[in-house]
Amino acid sequence: MTEVEFLDAYRGQANSLMLYGDFVILSITAAIEAELNVDISKFLKVPLQARIKDEASLIQKAFYRNKNYNDPFNEITDKIGIRIVVLLEEDVHAVCTIIERLKSFTCSKDRDFVTERDNSPESFRYQSNHYILRNVVPLEFDPPIEPGMPAEVQVRTLLQHAWSELTHDTVYKPNTYASPQVQRKVAQATAMIELTDRIFSEVHQSVNSFDIAFENLLRELEQLFPVDIKPVSDNVVNRYLLDTYNEELKTFSIAAFKHFLLDNRFIWERIKARSQRKQLFNLTIMPLMYYLARTKRHIMKAKWPLGEEDLELMFTDLGISIKR
């Protein structure tokens, strides 16, 4: 096949390849949404787009880079490329598992950065997971896509993505030679990114454990509301207030709190009446704020992060003079 024949064949397929790329994307995103229960637009840090290899680099790869293809047109596996960029390493693992289980494609792992890392622990290099997906059934595009059409899917963290954006053309696909100094710097950056990704995961995990405790507390508080008041839990101010009084709540006893509510039943009526005019009083966290105002009024006052008038309403309801 000459370069001209090769290009003709490629151009003839271009339209179907685009559609095929979209098909791969749809299959992956649908699976992610279904299995991870996430908002895909927030989960993916770079919008998903199928990329058709541009003609110049395709020709270069097929004919000039000593790759020794017998049938370059069918052997080149990255005519369609898709990058999935997520925040954390654990997200990468989750997406990889989903891709490996896709029913409409066979899947082979081209590169696995964990394996690569384990195999050469002393070096810091390009990190990404590469899959080659191939459709199982023919697709009725024009021209049709026969089973086995390769599409390359890369799965990376946001940091790995930044790294490869920087180094993509200059270091790992060089026709020009990269200097030892540049290579050294890149190795340093790679090491740092690996470490940073790990720290990101740790941060995420500790925040996550607080999230779980917070969600549990909200559920517990919701249970305490009388039936005629509907607490609002999905407002970030709940979290903000809880975070503000994190320290004071370390010694929090739900039993003492329930006791307080029994002694001060009128608080529910106040919350109900006040929430007609102020959204704040709808929040699930508010009975707890009343409790803090009663039991730790100095700290409550000193740390209150919202408007003074809202705090004043609570203090007034509890019969405490806020200013003198």
Partner: protein, 356 residues
């Protein structure tokens, strides 16, 4: 639980009273024949003012009712709790006139008299209250020909400036049988706030409101409570985790607060604010609460403490005692701990004159 939690204001009426005229005669008050209706935000603000002045941590003082005859403010006030709307308005007019009568000197300004009834506390005790609000001067903005201008006004009322209103609330927590058709003062608790009551030099100015008009007097238990305040606070200081120097300083502070200061009230919250480090405030307030010491103000009465406040007695671990005049204690004796050597350095700024 606080008496002032869950305050709910139900009926409100306002009247206007005036300064005595040039001849010292009462100018008849301007009465209202209708209840005053406030929208929810205005009601919130009125409640906030009442709580600021009377609630826990406020400078209000619990008083004893002494005048309880048929024409007293106390007896008249009780009918505000049970009568019809018309009776409520009628009684409020009588109370308003009585206040005008009590304002015997020409120096006492006019103002608005606001009387309300309602309930308070988790058990919804019936209450009635009277507020005498002086007028204030101030500005309001307005727009004239698209320009922002300030308008000077002289009849602002009930701003957060507490000096300019006095109020009293009567809380009904009992229903003992009538005696000669009169209610028993035992059934009620009264709290009064008047800025004049909190300072020694304005005690006389305060008397017309709490004594002549309300028929109240400082509670004789104030002697006991002032003493309790001293003893409990002392105990708190000694049992706290503060270091020796801080404890010593707080001892001096307690003396100053009770003996030297011209404040006419004793108040846990004020003492905490003024003298305690932030990390001990909450502990102190809770400690006093646990000792059932009131969160509102107590009229300062040092009768039981005179001897105690004259001298300070410091005891050391080896039973050595130092007795010194409490006044200017720090300039007479300098006490420094030396924990490393398990000893205390004492410098007495005077010469020995005797050895008994």
């Amino acid at each position: 639980m606080s008496y002032f939690a869950n305050l709910r204001i139900a009926k409100i009426v306002i009247h206007e009273i005036y300064k005595r005229d040039v001849n010292g005669e009462i100018t008849p008050p301007r009465y209202n024949d209708r209840l005053t209706r406030l929208d929810a935000s205005a009601l919130d603000t009125l409640q906030a003012r009442v709580i600021h002045a009377l609630g826990d941590d406020s400078h209000s003082v619990q008083m004893d009712i002494v005048k309880d005859d048929i024409s007293s403010t106390f007896q008249k006030g009780t009918t505000l709790l049970t009568g019809s709307e018309a009776e409520f308005i009628e009684t409020s007019k009588q109370l308003c006139y009585h206040l005008a009568e009590c304002q015997t000197t020409k120096g006492i300004p006019g103002g608005i008299v606001l009387i309300f009834s309602g309930t308070t506390g988790g058990q919804n005790f019936p209450i009635w209250a009277i507020i005498k609000a002086d007028y204030q001067e101030g500005f309001v903005k307005s727009i004239e020909e698209e320009n922002l201008i300030l308008k000077y006004i002289t009849d602002l009322l009930l701003t957060p400036q507490q000096k300019l209103y006095k109020l009293a609330v009567f809380i009904e927590h009992g229903q003992s049988p009538l005696i000669n058709n009169l209610r028993s003062t035992e059934d009620f608790t009264v709290y009064v706030y008047d800025h004049n009551m909190t300072r020694n030099e304005t005690q006389t100015a305060a008397a017309y409101f709490y004594r002549d008009f309300l028929g109240c007097h400082y509670s004789p238990t104030d002697k006991k409570l002032t003493q309790d305040f001293y003893l409990n606070t002392k105990q708190f200081i000694n049992s706290s985790n503060l270091d020796f120097e801080q404890k010593n300083e707080l001892g001096t502070a307690l003396f100053t607060y009770l003996k030297v200061s011209q404040e006419q009230i004793v108040h846990v919250e004020s003492f905490a604010d003024e003298y305690l480090p932030i990390e001990e405030k909450e502990n102190y307030v809770q400690y006093m609460e646990a000792k059932s010491f009131p969160a509102h103000a107590i009229s300062k009465d040092l009768t039981y403490l005179l001897k105690k406040l004259r001298q300070r007695k410091i005891t050391f671990t080896n039973n050595v005692k130092i007795i010194a005049p409490a006044e200017n204690f720090n300039s007479l004796v300098d006490i420094r701990s030396d924990p490393e050597n398990d000893q205390t350095l004492v410098i007495i700024k005077g010469k020995q004159i005797s050895d008994k």
